[in-house]
Symmetry: C2
Amino acid sequence: MSFIPLQPDAPLGTPGLPHERSDAARNRERLLCAARELVDEFGAEALTMDALACKAKVGKGTVFRRFGSRAGLMMTLLSDAESEFQRGFMFGPPPLGPGASPADRLVAFGEGRIYFVLENGELLKAAGAATRNRFDVPATKLSHRHMEVLLREAGIADPWVMAMSLTYALDPERIVDDVRVRGISPRRLTDSWRELITRLLKAS
Amino acid sequence: MSFIPLQPDAPLGTPGLPHERSDAARNRERLLCAARELVDEFGAEALTMDALACKAKVGKGTVFRRFGSRAGLMMTLLSDAESEFQRGFMFGPPPLGPGASPADRLVAFGEGRIYFVLENGELLKAAGAATRNRFDVPATKLSHRHMEVLLREAGIADPWVMAMSLTYALDPERIVDDVRVRGISPRRLTDSWRELITRLLKAS
DNA sequence: ATACTAAACGGACTACGGTCCGGTTTCTAT
DNA sequence: ATAGAAACCGGACCGTAGTCCGTTTAGTAT
């Protein structure tokens, strides 16, 4: 349970941190490399921590020290793609980024999120599951805050709670299962999201 | 994996079924009884299948033959309360039951659901987790269908998908964590739900 | 009553996520 | 170069969900 991933991903000489030991760095590299291979070959669902430790020629304890949990590993594997998506809605061009109306930005956000989830679905599901509450995923918090700001700007009475409703409406499990299990086209999902946001934010 | 809970809960002489054996009936009774005691005393989260088997003086295999999985057991435990709630929105008085406008019925449905979840949260979370997709829970399917019908009546373009969005917005995990972990009052949840439905279904 | 069969039983077994801790390695100070 | 301490390592170990299969037992036909 209680576990703090010491230097989650400090890449280089971060200011005060006591310089990550070389064996630790080497093992982290080995682990990430092996994890990516395993995911590519068998999919994220099939990745077990034992197999990873074995493939990376590392003890199991090392895997958990590095990533804290299976969910933590998946989040690390996702972090690049996630950062890019975040840059998109925080600093990118409209309508996703700043410059458009809250409604347009929310529509674009949902569409972007849906396609992002469809590309990284397995990883996202694995990252969200087994976490006591999926909301603890940092990226989820950021998305929630983003929507909250836009909803407030659009005059929603309780933007925090409404953003939570929308967050769950975009739940990775929901999106992936809609498309892959229940046969809903991505297009229908984005269209419905647009309808939801449009009606929700239509000036009264 | 593959497992069909033979006669999920056939209470009496169901037509053609080859009459459940007496030892099976007796063990099911023992199991349900023990399960309820354990849940009352320690909470649903803390219930382990081993402990249940032990307490019911029954082999572990028997537990799984009866309920298929931990989620299945939780669903069985829930079924009474769930049936009552279902009767409420299908046959009860308006605004929850038939007779009110779709918007009013949806508002009432969400409010009822929120309070229902807050009362049976642990069981619901346990029933939904570990199922490959939570949508497979039969009660969830029925709720989804109910909302779909109301949304269609209210002129939503793709009621099936919209109902799915709303289903996830009312996710048990979300509701329970909002209230118990993030300190949101049930009142704020129901108010926000009302705002969501009202704006969504406002005549354009 | 007896014999037969299909269903039910039980508990040993597997797989997996996660924890623990004694031993080892790297870095730093001298 | 040496010593000491902090960080790190590995793999044995634990708890839990779920499976398997040889054995027992309830119903049925004679």
